[in-house]
């Protein structure tokens, strides 16, 4: 019986199929990279043809003429306060849900989880008018404040369940030493929470960087657009110039790919921890 050799031949075939599938999956990104270094004339030679030499000037054109320099900084200006504030507020509310008693605990928790299920599309209209009433349309605040609020449910639940995993004895010992609660949170809980906090920050970075609806509705001034939005309006202006369009797309996704490759393992560990909650 050649059962064993059958299995290995089967495994080899299977691995071939898997790698082929992986290759097909990333092909759009490879094509994007390839096209972003072509000239307009090269594009006419076919999508899979190689250019005579790389035209990196497309990136310059996207960066300057396509306003990607503005969009890029706007994305940074929005992402940093959103991530920082969400992690900070998530620590406080997470701490409360992990360790403290207060009235309407279950109701408040239900109201928070509601925010994780109801998509932004459902409340974007009142949010738009609220922002208009507050005079915040076309400001960074319009991009930052709602996104902090939208990340509070996930931050709270993620950090509260991470805090519940901490050994109770350490905290009890600190209480016996007479340390105040805020002191304990800052000096004992936060240092122990660094891995969970950085995973959370990673997720919030990706989500905020990718957010489309909030900047789409709450901002219509080009000076405040973030990268995904800039890409949409850039597409409208540069429909004929595919190389510059693809260079713009590479500028949007490059920071994501770098972050992903650096934090790959942490990312997937956090994803599955967060998802199965």
């Amino acid at each position: 019986m050649s059962r064993w050799s059958n299995i290995s031949a089967g495994t080899l075939f299977l691995r071939l199929v898997l790698w082929l599938l992986a290759f097909v999956t990333i092909t759009p990104f490879l094509l994007l990279l390839l096209t972003s270094i072509k000239s307009k004339a090269d594009v006419l030679q076919g999508a899979f043809a190689l250019p005579a030499y790389p035209h990196f000037e497309n990136y310059l054109a996207a960066w300057n003429a396509g306003h990607f320099n503005i969009y890029f900084w706007n994305s940074i200006i929005v992402v940093i306060p959103v991530v920082a504030a969400s992690v900070f507020l998530g620590l406080l509310t997470g701490f409360a849900f992990a360790y403290l008693s207060f009235p309407f605990r279950r109701t408040l928790f239900a109201i928070l989880t509601l925010g994780m299920m109801v998509p932004a599309e459902a409340f974007i209209i009142p949010l738009y008018y609220e922002m208009r009433y507050l005079g915040l349309i076309n400001t960074y605040a319009a991009l930052i404040l709602p996104q902090i609020a939208m990340s509070i449910p996930f931050s709270t639940i993620f950090l509260a369940s991470a805090m519940q995993q901490l050994p109770e004895e350490v905290l009890e010992a600190a209480v016996l030493d007479g340390a105040g609660r805020f002191h304990i949170l800052r000096k004992i809980v936060v240092p122990l929470m660094v891995p969970a906090m950085s995973t959370l920050a990673l997720f919030l970075f990706i989500w905020t960087w990718n957010e489309f609806l909030i900047p789409f509705i709450l901002v219509n001034d080009d000076d405040y657009r973030t990268l995904p939005l800039g890409m949409l309006f850039f597409q409208g202006r540069y429909t004929v110039n595919t190389p510059v369009l693809t260079a713009g797309a590479v500028i949007v996704i490059f920071p994501l790919i770098v972050t992903y490759l650096i934090f790959q393992r942490r990312f997937i560990a956090g994803l599955t921890a967060g998802a199965t909650k």
Binding site: P103, I125, P126, P228
Partner: protein
């Protein structure tokens, strides 16, 4: 009753809750309640809202475009939920006993689309699908399948699957990763026992792997169903609901009614129906797929 050694008086406990809750109430929960109220009015965004009770909902359920949007959404679920689930679980079963290094590499590639902004993916795929100079049709012509080189996003019959495939591409690696960690959670002695008993790979999959992956199946279903109901970015950037409503989904319809036609009450009603639909499906999945892991957080 004290919850932990750190518990204090209820007033001081509230200090920890308050900042986060205030933010959440101001920019999420408040607007959700306001949307509920707005859906009961007729409002053009300028004059005073006029109370119409359930009028918007009555109109909606006699609006044939809304039914088209719902049907399209249901069809898209095949591509958002069913295909990624089946593909993801099959791949996870294939990949899990490969060597660590190879598994990691495959996982990295297949998961890549999931971290991208769907709006940008929509723009990229609109270019890939371009009938004249898009790589997709060029590839078909190059391999002698030129007859199948269609104007994908302009074809009434093929546009929904064309958009759907992008959602499948986006989600299947994500599903695989969740299933992979699920398989790693399963006690390996179960697989060893099956091998000793001479069970085939297929039998092991259907009788051991699949039932034990129910919690992960539930998670994947929940996340993809919610994603399909809130699908907006991808469809907006690829087709804006066209051609001729072929990819119209509730959220695109909501955008058209609200921000293009200034019928904000009707738009809010669609948003509320979408949210209610999400709750119902969420509840149904919890009941049907069952939660054997009640002990977990």
């Amino acid at each position: 009753m004290k919850r932990s050694a750190l518990d204090g008086s209820q007033q001081t406990n509230f200090i920890y809750l308050l900042p986060g809750l205030l933010f959440y109430a101001a920019f999420v929960f408040g607007p959700i309640i306001a949307a509920l109220g707005l859906s009961l009015t007729s409002w053009d965004g300028l004059s005073m809202p006029k109370w119409v009770g359930l009028g918007n909902y009555v109109d909606l359920f006699s609006d044939s475009r809304f039914y088209i949007a719902l049907r399209n959404n249901a069809e898209l679920m095949i591509f958002y939920c069913v295909l990624p689930l089946v593909l993801g679980i099959t791949l996870a079963a294939c990949v899990w006993n490969l060597k660590q290094r190879e598994q990691l590499a495959l996982r990295t590639f297949l998961f890549l689309p999931y971290i991208m902004p769907t709006a940008v993916l929509g723009i990229i795929w609109a270019w890939l699908y371009n009938p004249a100079f898009g790589p997709f049709n060029q590839f078909l012509r190059a391999v002698g399948l030129g007859a199948f080189a269609l104007p994908w996003l302009g074809d009434f019959n093929f546009v929904l699957p064309a958009v759907g495939i992008v959602a499948t591409w986006y989600f299947f690696g994500f599903c695989m990763v969740i299933f992979l960690t699920g398989i790693q959670r399963i006690d390996p002695s179960l697989f060893d026992a099956a091998k000793v008993d001479g069970a085939s790979a297929r039998k092991t999959f259907f009788w051991i792997t699949l039932p034990l992956l129910l919690p992960e199946i539930r998670v994947v279903l929940l996340l993809t169903v919610i994603a399909s109901i809130k699908s907006f970015d991808l469809i907006f950037t690829m087709t804006r609901g066209g051609p001729a409503n072929a990819t119209l989904v509730p959220n695109i319809y909501m955008y058209q009614l609200g921000f293009e036609l200034n019928r904000f009450g009707a738009a809010a009603a669609i948003a509320i129906v979408g949210a209610v639909l999400t709750f119902i499906i969420n509840f149904a999945i919890h009941r049907l797929v069952g939660s054997q892991n009640k002990g977990r957080a």
